[in-house]
């Protein structure tokens, strides 16, 4: 396909959706495009990070864009000192997050950074297991520390201890301090997140590159299969659903669990059965920590964990029960997966020239060593840290509402983190003085206006990219993690003209061919609408959608690379998947029939119904 244009729109050419005019004021100035930076912004290539932010981002939620790309920059540019790459620059456009990899191009500078990198990265690789053990410890402590933070309503007067213990310090100050602590730990978690991730991907890339050289036509997913783990905490949440399904059958509460109703009714049904209490006991024991698990990645405050929305795990359990009743074995075939992983690796190795096998072994060993980190870090950061973070923010929102500052809890998310800091001080100071908070007036009208803006922003899907793309995408992480390759950019360019699409090209993420009816899922709540045999079309799928994979016959996403956990889980479920199509959610409609090819990465419209 020949693109009609050689660039995407510039930021200043982007038109706000109708009703979203003025959206820029909602975000910190450094996250939005500014006139003085135009020349530099225009000359660069920005692509949508809908892998992390699949919907338009509320002002408060933009804290994630700050934290992620601060942590990423720290690690790559300043700590490990990647030789040819600095951080990823970040902007918000029409409520969506766009990023731009910053390369180092001066050969002398690369040389200098290379020496630093060798020493620093070398230390991590040589001490990987020990450093990873320490990392898990740090993360566990951090999550516990966040859990301990309290956000309680302001009392009429200070508690007696403030006086009797001579504290001389107001409980209202706890609110201010704990807000700062919460934000600090959130930023810290994202520094930890990248502490080992770049190195992990780097090590994987060594093996990836070796395979691509030895087997020029090898598929990315095959390389991943040789390395991927089959055990570990990344698989635990879903494994727990399988276990609860089996236990449900064993304790004869499976009929109750199949009830087509909300979580409350289902659990009441279970309770009413003779062994229901025993099952519920198990169910409740599993919730902490395994249901602290986002159906998506928890970058947006309105995404729910399984614990918040028990419908999601209960639907998963019900699906597994259906499979059990069909006489299927629902245990993940861990031993067989292990075996096939080693078999495939051994067979590829056997095709190499004898002098190549030592390199293959070394690279395979190195990537298998780092892979548990790649697979498990999401659980600690995206799931556990994010779930406690949003829980505490909800507590804080409750304090504002109780004090009459906000009308409802969701008002809070319409202020960015800096504005919220001001509002919080306004709240405690006015409380201390004994006057009404000025923010009630100040923010009331603005929040109403911002609600309209958010609705308008969310009505549109993001443009895949802005600015001038490079002739060739050479950033290893853009390629590996985001699936942004030279070919993909060309596809985007050729499709950015708009109009009807009969064919979408993405990246083959999981093998197989499937044909079925499209179901566009924009929110995890819509998962329950999936009908057997449908093709799930989403901006991104999260690994926790796994149980839905027993229903659908294929998965298509707008964005994502080979290395996303969701891709790995898709492969394990034998579910054909095409990722990084750029436009699937925008171009496909419910009811259309498509054929997806997980070997070639194509999605073809078969007929419209």
């Amino acid at each position: 396909m020949i693109p009609q244009t050689d660039r995407f729109a510039y930021f200043h050419e982007a038109r706000a959706p109708e009703g979203a005019e003025g959206w820029e004021r909602m975000y910190p100035y450094f996250l939005t495009s500014q006139p003085e930076g135009r020349a530099s912004e225009d000359s660069r290539f920005w692509f949508a990070d809908s892998m992390h932010w699949s919907r338009a981002v509320h002002p408060f939620d933009s804290i994630g864009a700050e934290a992620v790309y601060y942590g990423c920059g720290i690690n790559g540019a300043r700590s490990i000192v990647l030789p040819a790459a600095l951080g990823l620059d970040v902007r918000m456009v029409n409520g969506y997050v766009y990023i731009c990899p910053m390369p180092v191009t001066d050969p002398a500078e690369i040389e200098k950074r290379l020496a630093l990198f060798q020493e620093r990265a070398g230390f991590y690789y040589k001490n990987w297991d020990e450093l990873y053990a320490r990392w898990k410890e740090k993360m566990t402590v951090l999550v516990q520390r966040m859990k301990a933070l309290k956000f309680e309503p302001l009392p009429e007067v200070e508690p007696m201890e403030v006086v009797t213990e001579g504290q001389g310090r107001s409980v209202s100050w706890e609110l201010v301090e704990n807000y700062h602590r919460l934000v600090n730990d959130f930023f810290l978690a994202w520094q930890y997140h990248f502490e080992m991730l770049g190195l992990g991907y780097g090590a994987y890339l060594v093996f990836f590159d070796l395979c691509k050289r030895a087997f020029p036509e090898i598929q990315d997913q095959t390389i991943a299969r040789m390395v991927a783990g089959v055990e570990g905490i990344a698989f635990r949440p879903d494994d727990e659903l399988r276990r609860l399904a089996k236990l449900g059958v064993e304790l004869a509460v499976d009929e109750a669990l199949r009830t087509k109703a909300g979580a409350a009714e289902i659990l009441a049904e279970v309770q009413a059965r003779p062994d229901g209490a025993r099952w519920l006991e198990e169910f409740n024991a599993v919730r902490e920590p395994w249901f602290n698990y986002f159906a998506e990645y928890g970058f947006l405050h309105d995404q729910e964990t399984w614990s918040q929305n028990l419908d999601i795990p209960l639907q998963g359990i019900a699906r597994y029960i259906e499979l059990l009743r069909d006489g299927q074995d629902i245990d993940r075939p861990v031993a067989r997966l292990h075996e096939s992983r080693d078999e495939i690796a051994a067979e590829y190795r056997a095709l190499l020239a004898p002098e190549e096998t030592a390199q293959f072994d070394e690279a395979l060993q190195l990537s298998r060593n780092v892979f548990p980190y790649i697979e498990e870090h999401n659980i600690y950061v995206e799931h556990w840290t994010h779930s406690v973070f949003w829980e505490k923010v909800r507590d804080l929102a409750g304090v504002f509402v109780k004090a009459g500052f906000f009308r409802e809890e969701s008002d809070l998310y319409h202020l960015n983190r800096f504005e919220l800091d001001q509002a919080l001080f306004d709240l405690v100071e006015s409380w201390a003085i004994g006057v009404p908070a000025r923010g009630v007036q100040h923010w009331g009208a603005e929040i109403a206006a911002r609600r309209k803006i958010m609705a308008a922003l969310r009505s549109e899907t993001p443009a895949p990219a802005y600015g001038i793309p490079p002739k060739e995408v050479t950033d290893p992480f853009a390629i590996m993690n985001y699936g942004v390759t030279t070919e993909r950019v060309q596809e985007w360019l050729s499709q950015s003209g708009g109009g009807a699409t009969r064919r979408l090209q993405g990246i083959p993420a999981s093998p197989g061919v499937a044909e079925g009816v499209v179901r566009v899922v924009r929110h995890e709540n819509e998962l329950s609408q999936l009908q057997p045999g449908e093709i799930l079309v989403a901006a991104i799928t999260a690994p926790s959608w796994a149980s839905a994979f027993s229903v659908v016959s294929g998965v298509v996403t707008d964005i994502g690379g080979m290395m996303s956990h969701a891709a790995i889980v898709c492969r394990e479920y034998g579910m054909p998947a095409v990722v990084s199509t750029g436009f699937a959610t925008a171009r496909l409609q419910n009811g259309q029939r498509v054929r997806i090819d997980g070997y070639k990465g194509t999605v073809v419209l078969v007929e419209a119904s």
């Binding site: 990647l82 030789p83 040819a84 290379l114 990198f117 060798q118 020493e119 620093r120 990265a121 070398g122 690789y125 040589k126 190195l199 780097g202 090590a203 890339l205 060594v206 990836f208 590159d209 070796l210 691509k212 050289r213 030895a214 087997f215 020029p216 036509e217 090898i218 598929q219 095959t222 495939i344 067979e347 590829y348 095709l351 070394e362 690279a363 190195l366 002739k471 060739e472 995408v473 050479t474 950033d475 290893p476 390629i479 390759t485 030279t486 093998p511 070997y599 070639k600």
Partner: protein
């Protein structure tokens, strides 16, 4: 036993110097239980006896010594003369007897009075390192009766002395008279579709791929390049079809000479289904393992045999020339990734 002909199932057909490369491959497959069209080889010994008895050997030596190797016209003229010699010199009686008996046995085994057979060159020089001799020598399809077989046997022999075969041999440092020419006689496959399978990607040299090209009818269109065949790429190890590209199969060979146009509907359709592609690939993988190197395999899908049992292999030989991996690495993204990977690897060491 005279060893003028040997059946594929016979132990001595594994002697490459006796039966040539093509028959050797067919014998190996037959004896490993891989389906090939049944037949026998007229051996290099029969060829020698023919050249000696007819006195052709001496005349060929003289003619080849004198010819101007640089002149295309001279080569053409010499080759036409030689071709006429082969046309006019009949087989010595004992050789003719052996060929007749071989053909009769094959007819009897397959319950046909005048079985249609393919008569195909099987030279010892074929597949020698660096020189594939691919398509240099003749193949005749759809021959019936011992007279037809005998005449085309001589034409196969003569094809070692065509202008282009002579140049090719000389260019590869081989004396044309040192080429030992055996000939394969085997049942003509009633091919619904046919083609060529490489157990390595001929494009990139990737050994984890199997590439199949196929078209309707006999494989002549694929080998001869007069149709654009369908193309299939298979992941050898994982065992699935990675790519299917519909070609433009505007005609199909019903026999060696006879072609028929293919209608638009069939033309736009793949001529093999996934099950056939995978069955072929499994055989390809087995053959590669047997020989310890990538193989170039000709196959057909028989029209009459039942599905699942309808693959017939016609030829198997080592792939002689592969692209150099070093030539394939050129793109900037690949280079950038490789540079980064190597810095990671040296840090990890």
């Amino acid at each position: 036993m005279s060893m003028l002909t040997v059946e594929f199932a016979h132990q001595s057909s594994l002697d490459k110097r006796l039966v040539g490369g093509k028959a050797h491959g067919l014998a190996l497959m037959t004896q490993a239980g891989i389906p090939v069209s049944p037949g026998f080889a007229v051996t290099t010994r029969a060829y020698r006896e023919y050249l000696d008895h007819t006195g052709l050997k001496a005349r060929l030596e003289a003619a080849l010594a004198d010819v101007n190797r640089e002149s295309i016209d001279a080569l053409d003229e010499a080759s036409h003369t030689i071709e006429a010699w082969f046309e006019r010199a009949p087989l010595p009686d004992h050789v003719l007897m052996a060929v007749s008996e071989g053909y009769a046995r094959l007819c009897a085994a397959l319950g046909s009075a005048d079985l249609s057979v393919a008569v195909r060159s099987s030279a010892t020089a074929e597949d020698s390192a660096g020189a594939s001799f691919a398509g240099e020598y003749e193949t005749f399809v759809g021959m019936r009766g011992v007279q037809d077989v005998e005449r085309h046997l001589r034409r196969c022999w003569a094809s070692a002395f065509t202008a282009r075969a002579l140049s090719y041999a000389w260019k590869n440092g081989i004396a044309p008279l040192d080429v030992e020419m055996a000939v394969v006689v085997q049942k003509t496959v009633n091919a619904r579709a046919a083609g060529v399978m490489f157990t390595v990607s001929p494009v990139t040299g990737d050994r984890s791929r199997i590439v199949i090209e196929a078209s309707y009818g006999l494989g002549l269109g694929v080998v001869g390049g007069d149709v654009t065949p369908d193309r299939y790429v298979v992941a050898k190890i994982e065992g699935h079809v990675v790519d299917r590209i519909v070609g433009d199969k505007h005609l199909e060979y019903l026999s060696g000479q006879e072609t028929m146009p293919v209608d638009d509907e069939r033309r736009a359709r793949l001529c093999l289904d996934d099950a056939e592609v995978m069955a072929l690939s499994r055989i390809g993988k087995q053959l590669e393992r047997m020989h310890g190197a990538p193989q170039d395999i000709e196959f057909a899908i028989d029209r009459e045999l039942p599905a699942g049992d309808n693959i017939v292999l016609l030829q198997c030989r080592p792939v002689t020339v592969l692209p150099t991996k070093a030539l394939l690495r050129s793109s900037a993204p690949v280079e950038a990734v490789a540079r980064f990977a190597s810095s990671v690897l040296s840090a990890a060491r």
